[in-house]
Symmetry: C2
Subunit: 115 residues, 2 copies
């Protein structure tokens, strides 16, 4: 039910949004816990938006030639909407460091707001 809010798209939803969307049907805490469960099950993945809010989106399996563990996300500075960017980002090399994952957020204007 919560899952169906994500449709099949690359569209991401903030937790705050989801809590509000389901406030008549279910408790805030439940929404948080369902999201966590769906993430553990590999149905969803989460990331942090520009406003430091938690966002969720459908999990997409990475390409085999995947270079970043986490794909980048885009967030519109005007409408606030966010989505996945189906692209790989090369991991920068940092001497004597090991990089395991990444949080990559690109900010700008989305198609709707540019139109």
């Amino acid at each position: 039910m919560v899952l169906s809010a994500f449709e099949n798209s690359r569209r991401a939803l903030s937790v705050v949004d989801l809590v509000k969307r389901f406030e008549t049907e279910m408790n805030k805490t439940t929404v948080y816990r369902v999201l966590e469960r769906l993430q553990d099950d590999g149905e969803l993945h989460s990331f942090t938006g520009k406003d430091r809010l938690k966002w969720f989106a459908k999990y997409h399996k990475p390409d085999s030639n995947n270079t970043t563990m986490t794909h980048p996300h885009f967030q519109c500075q005007d409408c606030g909407k966010s989505k996945c960017i189906p692209v790989d980002i090369a991991i920068p090399s940092l001497p004597n460091h090991r990089i395991d994952s990444s949080h990559l957020l690109f900010i700008g204007q989305c198609d709707d707001c540019l139109a």
Copy 2:
């Protein structure tokens, strides 16, 4: 004074850390406001850590052939320390979108924790 906590390095400090470090000398609110001012003056820049905390570091002017507006940061998953990565990341192309800036965080193990 707050500024001097950053030395001249690429080392970043979380606001929470700075508030604690200066709690005898100055008020929490003042720390927040000084940091904001230093950011406006171009002395510091800020980003979001993996734990969704606000971090600050010295501002480094970008190269002329700069491709990302914001350089990436690294955060150690073990000790939590964070630093700037002096590297440019190519901006991915997203059809019909305009990308202005980015929040790029790579997570892994730092030199100290690997040693």
